[in-house]
């Protein structure tokens, strides 16, 4: 029986043997290939007359006269349905072999594709590369500083290059009021002559005014008068803004939300805020679990932690117990942030009373389990005049005490006190002894963790020092993981300008759609 099966299989196999020699005439036609050498990824500054020049290396047997060339660009994010309609061929930019293309594209990442086609038989070959597009006003740091006369100005800092006093240069005068801080919003809507448009926008908050600048062209797209459908009462100060599935803003007296701008979700409104729906806040806001578990802010109005969610639900007070004898209504917040190391998240707020006594609030990736510990008076954290979060590289926070930077590691001894027995001095290579540390911030972007373009991701420890009327800005670190242990590895050349640094934000030319806010780990810090 078995032999019969084997015989049948052998016969079947023989039956499947094909002939390699036949009388066909079709197979004799040679179709030469077209080979395009790989092209390098590059980046360029848009709207500045810069030319993207590429000379591709094409190897083929076809004569040059038989070839046609087509170059296309295709945006990598925020692609609406019309742009998908014709696939990558939607935006043709050249039909020449050598590309000479003046780039006037919104910032973001694009795929540039070259298609070479034989006119004789339509055989075609393609090659592509990635183009990072920035603008003169993006892919650099915005430095909010206090001017000598107590108003606010913006310097744009790119490495050691400083483009100073941009608000005065472009809009005629500095922003009135003492600077409070910056917020960078990837999905801001604003009013245009024909309706509304979206922008990657920099909010500037002072104690008298609020301005929002488009980081494409530095246009002032929102002012205090156009932030809301209704006028803000005199004395109400917006102080921070952040985006999730809605765009949210806190003032000293209220909490506001509106719709962000995201064409992929058909959110195309002008992002004007309505009336307050909750307790006033402060600069100090954290995204818990990347925001998936909510957003918690210190309410300077209620002297308590409040939380909202990704949809901007009316903020509610967090439930936690204060140490015996501590009257929370007497406390003010002086720092806050999120730390996320290897999936372990610590959110913290540092508060103090009028006597200078301090308490550290901490909780994990959920809004329950807030613990409040007194900070031992002998610790650097108790005496620091600057505190700042470490985001992704060390399980602690930064504090400056006696002009020395320290890493204050979170304590796990469970004794109910932050006793400061785990604090370490951090050397800042290149900072001179004549300089006074005036600003510390760990700025980072982890867009890749939010399923977005990670090509601009970074992790920087930003130190602002003061020498007389001048500041120096040291930016340590580079890409993610370039600050091992939260410690600068090598000296850097500082940028120098006049005034005093109050807040910094990096205007990354990355398109983040609203799905990015579904990530469960920090994408960027919400406060300095």
């Amino acid at each position: 029986m078995k032999k019969k099966y084997i015989l049948a299989c052998v016969l079947a196999a023989l039956g499947m043997v094909g002939c390699f020699k036949d009388d066909s005439s079709l197979g004799t036609t040679n179709v030469p290939k077209i080979q395009i050498a790989e092209m390098r990824d590059t980046s360029i500054v848009s709207y500045s007359g810069n030319i993207l020049a590429v000379s591709p290396v094409v190897e083929t047997e076809y004569p040059e006269s038989e070839l046609s060339y087509a170059w296309y660009y295709f945006p990598s994010n925020n692609v609406n349905s019309e742009e998908w309609a014709n696939g990558f061929r939607n935006n043709k930019i050249s039909e020449e072999k050598d590309l000479q293309y003046e780039v006037n594209l919104p910032s973001g990442t694009y795929t540039i594709t070259l298609e070479v086609t034989s006119n004789s038989n339509q055989y075609a070959s393609m090659q592509h590369f990635t183009l990072g597009v920035t603008t003169e006003f993006s892919n650099l740091y915005y430095v909010l500083k206090e001017t000598a006369d107590g108003n606010a100005e913006l310097d744009l800092v790119d490495g050691t290059d400083v483009n100073p006093d941009m608000v005065t240069k472009v809009h005629g005068a500095p922003i009135p009021g003492s600077p409070i801080g910056l917020s960078y919003i990837y999905n801001q809507g604003y009013v245009t002559e024909t309706g509304s448009a979206g922008a990657k926008a920099m909010y500037v908050f002072t104690d008298e005014d609020t301005r929002v600048y488009n980081t494409e062209d530095f246009a002032e797209i929102v002012t205090r008068n156009t932030l809301s459908y209704q006028e803000f009462p005199e004395g109400e100060m917006p102080c921070n803004a952040f985006c999730s599935l809605v765009l949210m803003m806190v003032t000293n007296e209220g909490f506001y939300y509106t719709q962000p701008y995201d064409e992929t979700m058909d959110y195309t409104s002008a992002s004007r805020y309505g009336a307050s729906t909750g307790a006033g806040g402060s600069r100090y806001i954290v995204a818990v679990g990347g925001g998936m578990s909510g957003y918690v802010y210190w309410s300077e109005q209620e002297h308590h932690l409040y939380m909202t969610d990704m949809n901007g639900a009316s903020p509610t007070p967090l439930e936690y117990s204060m140490p015996s004898g501590v009257d929370e209504t007497t406390l003010s917040c002086i720092g806050g942030g999120t730390n996320s190391i290897s999936g372990s998240e610590t959110n913290w707020f540092l508060v103090e009373n009028a006597a200078g006594e301090r308490w550290l609030y901490t909780f994990g990736a959920s809004t329950t389990g807030v613990t409040v510990e007194p900070v031992a008076a002998s610790s650097h954290l108790a005496n620091a005049h600057i505190v700042a979060a470490n985001g992704l590289s060390a399980p602690g926070l930064y504090a400056v005490d006696g002009n020395q930077l320290y890493l204050c590691y979170f304590e796990e001894d469970g004794n109910g006190i932050y006793d400061g027995d785990n604090e370490a001095a951090v050397t800042l290579p290149g900072v001179g002894s004549d300089e006074t540390i005036a600003y510390v911030s760990n700025q980072y972007l982890n867009a890749e963790a939010a399923w977005a373009d990670g090509s601009f991701d970074f992790d920087n420890l930003v130190i602002g020092t003061q020498v007389g009327e001048k500041y120096r800005l040291y930016v340590y670190g580079d890409k993610l993981n370039s600050l091992p242990g939260g410690i600068p590895q090598k000296a850097v050349e500082p940028a120098e300008g006049t005034g005093t640094v109050k807040s910094v934000r990096y205007a990354a030319p990355v398109n983040l759609d609203l799905f990015a806010y579904m990530a469960s780990s920090p994408i960027f810090p919400l406060c300095d």
Binding site: Y229, Q230, S269, Y273, A275, T277, S314
Partner: protein
């Protein structure tokens, strides 16, 4: 075995359907011409229903609604008549031709029901009449294409439309209960007086499309405005605002 591998080379026949048909023309949510498959997924299930009230248009004696229709089949180099018929419903009082609307075969209107030569779309009117009886009731006009030998009805889903109309203040189908609370004629009139806007389907849909946050903001604004106005009334010894049936008017905060 070999027969099974044989390929067919029969040419496709050219389109030869002589019967022309008519469909009402719609756009889906992506602003593309709607297909029947879009219903439910990319079109509201109420896509073919219209609500109208003379009340929100200033109580004119008559008003005209226009509906775009499109052809299936060959074009013609001559004008072609379009026939409409009323389809009686048993769910509501049916509109009466000549009393509530101008009959589709009225000699004065017949010339409007024509597909022009070489055209495949045209807008046709339905002329509604503001009979005094509509002050206290709503009627329904369901109408579709009648086979007149030139055109037959097209797809079932796209071959008829429904208009519910009245001269009363009625709830617009676009009314957003989450933002404005339960609809009521007194509340609606207050909203009109306070803002100068109609808050009818056209206005609500326009705001929804162009400036959704504004509707959320107006929820807050109406809520506090009502509180403020009620407080004034109470201070003046009056009752708070109520609908005619005595129900207190409220506009709860959306959040």
């Amino acid at each position: 075995m070999l027969a099974a591998f044989a390929a067919c080379e029969k040419d496709l026949e050219p389109y030869s359907e002589e019967q022309c048909r008519l469909n009402f023309w719609y756009l889906n949510w992506d602003n593309e011409v709607a297909m029947t498959d879009d219903i439910g997924d990319r079109m509201y299930s109420t896509y073919n229903q219209s609500d109208y009230s003379f009340y929100y248009e200033g109580l004119p004696e008559r008003d005209t609604l226009w509906f775009k229709v499109s052809t299936m089949g060959f074009l013609s180099d001559q004008d072609r008549p379009i026939a409409l018929k009323q389809i009686m419903q048993d769910t509501m009082e049916n509109a009466e031709a000549g009393l509530h609307y101008v009959a589709f075969d009225d000699p004065d209107a017949a010339h409007l029901y024509v597909m022009p030569a070489n055209a495949d779309t045209v807008s046709i009117p339905v002329i509604l009449l503001n009979d005094p009886s509509l002050e206290k009731k709503e009627v329904i006009l369901c109408f579709g294409f009648d086979d007149n030998g030139t055109f037959a009805p097209g797809y079932d889903e796209f071959s008829y439309r429904v208009i519910r109309f009245t001269a009363e203040a009625v709830e617009p189908s676009a009314w957003l209960e989450g933002f404005f609370g339960t609809w009521g004629p007194v509340k609606h009139q207050l909203m009109i007086e306070w803002t100068g806007e109609a808050w009818d389907n056209d206005y609500i849909n326009k705001m929804y499309e162009e400036d959704y946050p504004y509707l959320e903001y107006m929820n807050q604004w109406f809520h506090y405005k009502l509180e403020e106005e009620n407080a004034k009334r109470v201070a003046d010894g009056l009752d708070v605002y109520r609908e005619e049936d005595g129900t207190e008017i409220t506009i709860p905060l959306y959040r």
